[in-house]
Symmetry: C2
DNA sequence: AAAAAAAGATGATGTAGGTCATGTTTTGAA
DNA sequence: TTCAAAACATGACCTACATCATCTTTTTTT
């Protein structure tokens, strides 16, 4: 399953330059190289689980990850999506608490683990990182509060349209500039929008009827992004 | 309306010791004293408005504040509650963005304003503050993500019970250890729970019938906190 | 003290969307 | 290549909750 991969060198890591570690000094990079651990996760594997304690943070080298909370009724609510260059687990680590969500690979994913001592050392000595981390948290919080308002006020169709746009925001389009660059099940999309799987399926069918979406294999292509924005009740 | 109050001295400010500024050096305190501005806000007055730009942060000296987002349908969704010692406006300032919510006094409130230059100086030079700020953001994010899951999964009665418990968590009880130490309208409670005002009124009446709550004037008394926890579908 | 406005309360009504049931298609394992 | 399990799809039903309307009580303004 999870296999160690000792070959990654932070010095040349593409993901690092997209991450909060982009401005590390040479000394810091080599420290990172020594202490970090790397592993790959198959689709469906957990990186960490809700209710367990953090011992460091994870940095996604390649792949895609969903963070979700399990409700009593057994349904998963997806609270964040992460991609190459994104960090995982900083919320719990910085808050000094257990994980409040589970991180699971939604495709083959390669991740580096950074022990908490090193991460805190960086945070305490490198101001650029600190500010980046605060920006990250601020952005997460903005998104979360926006979602709260949506869930409380918007009807499902608008939330489903927003969910598609959110996925696009995180993972982007393929070279055709229209097909979502990720494979998600209907259930996962439902768990982003906060609705039942059957409802998500029906609404996606509607959006297809409207000529706004098209399904190509397991992927979703956005034919009319402006109409999708409109359907989400957002100005463009 | 908003009147300046030059008499507060940070050196002896009770609220400061409850805030992220509790560990300031003497020099830092006097710097704070020189640059800060103080004002009082009447019930219903805005401290800042959604969509405007932050120029600093606010520290509540005394009083209570709600932060809400205005949805297209005109309803307010309350995303946070704040009390003495709490900071306001750091999300937008640290994220380098506009305010995404409006802050409004829910009772006579006295607040100090700290210019952004000084706040960033503190953040950059004082590690304790930095860590506290990150903890604050982490905690807000935890609460927000929990609320997302609730809104997506729980029925109104559970959310209403949780809303009461949330208010208790923030503002606490009076000396009787049962009466919520704040006056909120039914509409405001509805806007915390994410439901219609009429529904909130009906559910509160139910909780009263259940013998869990009692209404004393404009205040809410919790008669059976364990049953309230149970009604919120939370373990105690 | 009177008038106006806001808050609280309650009933009647309609519907969005959740749940259940069943069937088909796709995927993946053996 | 076959079989089992996910994933996808669609119809039928039902109820939780929003909306609307009306009324009373409390608060605020003049």
């Amino acid at each position: 399953m999870k296999k160690a991969n000792p070959h990654l060198d932070c010095q040349f890591c593409d993901a690092r330059f997209k991450s909060v570690f982009c401005d590390l000094t040479k000394a810091e990079v080599s420290e990172l190289n020594e202490q970090k651990g790397c592993a790959t996760y198959k689709k469906g594997q957990d990186i960490f689980k809700q209710e367990s304690y953090p011992h460091g943070i994870y940095c996604i080298n390649a792949g895609k990850v969903k963070l979700f909370q399990l409700a009593e009724n057994g349904r998963e609510q997806i609270v964040r999506l992460a991609k190459s260059g994104d960090l995982l687990g900083y919320r719990a680590l910085l808050g000094g608490e257990k994980y409040t969500s589970t991180a699971e690979a939604i495709e083959e994913t390669s991740i580096c683990f950074i022990p908490k001592q090193l991460f805190f050392k960086f945070v305490e000595t490198n101001n650029a990182i600190t500010l980046q981390v605060m920006k990250m948290l601020s952005n997460d919080l903005k998104n979360a509060e926006h979602k709260i308002t949506d869930l409380a006020q918007k009807p499902v169709k608008e939330r489903m349209s927003e969910a598609i746009l959110f996925v696009k925001e995180v993972y982007g389009f393929e070279k055709d500039n229209a097909t979502l660059n990720v494979v998600l099940t209907r259930e996962e999309i439902a768990n982003i929008a906060g609705t039942a799987t059957e409802t998500a399926i029906r609404i996606l069918a509607e959006l297809k009827e409207d000529g706004i979406l098209e399904f190509i294999g397991k992927k979703i292509k956005v034919l009319k992004i402006n109409e999708l924005l409109h359907s989400a009740n957002l100005s463009d």
